[in-house]
């Protein structure tokens, strides 16, 4: 036996090492193109709008007859692209795949036959997901901000809103990621269930009054958005009609609780579940 220490690394140290191992795997995986599209698409769109406005100054849309300024346009992009699409999609596709990808690739064996708790594997991979998505989405938002806001708006004046946006998106990624990590660890066909939750249940429930909307992440996340909800479609108008905004502190507390509880449940599920790899 070698002289190497045989003291089991702490849970946090184990998770940190899995994070280090997994970050690159997530960034340069088969989903890289998809990830690049999600993060780069809005930037390209923003650059396109900026170029269009430079050529045709009247090209900006009008709301209630008034030209929509850069700040308002940025707010619309935040709602329509990031909050309603990019964040849930990243949560579903990456959250449900935290362990499933390793199982499909049959590489989970290498991680589960090491002297670290399986829960630390999940937490490390979750942190890698969070790091990977935050490192992609937040710069994307910053680029969109600097491309769009100067069009009839003030970069300085809207800056506090940008900070709130970045914080809100990071919290959203954390909450959705944890929920779908649990779905992925606990259920079969997690991707289908995740998609139904993110694009069926959440928007559906938010359309109606009542307490069911409290069983969504979006309900709490939308309370942190510093921009007015756009009324771009009938669904959006309906959402606005039944739009309830819980207090920010309450929303933060709920999102933290959702993240921690689902992550703990996911870790527990991974600890107890057997993974039978197909030969």
């Amino acid at each position: 036996m070698s002289d190497s220490p045989r003291t089991q690394p702490s849970f946090a140290a184990s998770a940190a090492r899995i994070f280090d191992l997994s970050l690159g795997q997530m960034l340069w995986s088969r989903r890289s193109v998809f990830l690049a599209l999600l993060a780069g698409g809005p930037v390209l769109l923003a650059v396109g709008i900026r170029s269009l406005v430079l050529i045709y100054p009247d090209a900006l849309p009008r709301v209630n007859g008034a030209l929509v300024g850069g700040g308002a346009l940025f707010g619309m992009m935040m709602w329509l692209l990031y909050i309603r699409f990019v964040i849930p999609v990243l949560g579903v596709f990456y959250g449900t795949a935290l362990i499933a990808d390793e199982v499909d690739d049959k590489t989970i064996t290498y991680l589960f036959t090491r002297p670290i708790p399986r829960g630390a594997v999940l937490v490390g991979k979750y942190l890698a997901y969070l790091g990977c998505t935050i490192l992609l989405v937040l710069p994307s938002v910053v680029l969109v901000y600097f491309a769009i806001v100067p069009v009839g708006g003030s970069v300085g004046e809207s800056f506090p809103a940008l900070l709130k946006d970045l914080g809100m998106l990071a919290i959203g990624l954390a909450a959705y990621g944890a929920v779908f990590a649990w779905v992925g660890a606990r259920l079969k066909r997690p991707l289908v269930i995740g998609l139904v939750f993110a694009f069926g249940w959440e928007p559906g429930v938010l359309l109606f009054p009542g307490y069911l909307k409290r069983l969504t992440v979006a309900y709490y996340l939308q309370a942190l958005v510093p921009h007015a909800m756009p009324d771009d479609s009938t669904v959006s108008v309906l959402m606005q009609v039944f739009h309830e905004v819980p207090p920010v502190a309450e929303s933060l507390a709920w999102l933290a609780a959702i993240t921690l509880v689902t992550l703990w449940a996911a870790g527990r599920a991974v600890e107890r579940r057997e993974y039978v790899l197909e030969q």
Partner: protein, 355 residues
Amino acid sequence: MTTKTRYFVIASLLVLGVGMGSGLVAYYSSYPMSAFMRRGGPDEFKYVPADVSVLAYADVQDVMHSQLRQKLHDAVPMSENGQREFQDETGINIETDIEHVVAFAEPGSTGGPGGMVLARGTFDVPRIEALMSEHGARVEDYKGVHVIRVGAHNAMADLHRGMAPSDTRPDRVGVPGANDFAVSFIEPRLVAVGNAGLVRAAIDQKNSPNVTSNEEMMKIVRSLEGGNAWAVGRFDAIRKQAHLPANMASQIPPITWFSISSHVNGGIRGTVRAETRDSEAANNLRDVVGGFVALAKLQAGSNPELQGMMHSLDVSVAGNTVELTFAIPAEAFNALGALGTTKKPAQKPVGPVGH
């Protein structure tokens, strides 16, 4: 972590860092005086005419989140029904939805609302329009922007009846129904509320000179450092509007400009400034104000909270400017609250009467 991943992380953090740095520089260079106001004033100044007599600003979010507000809220638990009802009707949560407010009054405004309030925040436009329509308001289209008119007059009716407009100021002659009250969402997240003529003028403002070209007023606005609520006014214009009897008007000190700036947080800290015609008038004013301050200190009696507030009052004069500074601690509001409650007649408890 592989080298490629490390490069990616560095590049990503670089974009974030440069973005945050640029944003911060833009933020602070746009708000040199304090965190709430840009060099040329808030963006809403572009809707404020150059010749306003009073201009005011309040950072509603800052005030709502102040410790004082929390203390008052805790000390005097107010019924939230009214606020809730207002929110249910309009969709506006006063605590969270309104960011800041700019208000102004124009010289010569007579009858009806003579000014306008511009509020920046989050509004449910269709809901508010529908609500106002239910209450008899009319939604008109003015240069492609909806203007919700409230009042006896409305533009179309005026035109149809061929009536002379009620506003007789030279620049408002020919503007039908200019004195009516109107509401218009002139920008996304910006509502203008006030005199219909002023609201229309705000929609027209694009190329007209605005208050930022009024150097005299902007100089005073820029001097109001650190306040989250302030007001600046031309005292002579207000005096003219008041139509005071000559003998009373002659007793009023010859003040040209005044300003009030306050910072609300744990308590209220503020400054009231008045610019007089000359230094002699300034000294006279200082003596008058000083007398009132001395009287107030006497009246404060033995109440330690009020005494603390009174001792913070300080009057000074520099050239033709008289300045009164004050600091009202949160405890003073408790004392004021207590004074208020002791003056109320005691209510009999309601309950069954025993035999």
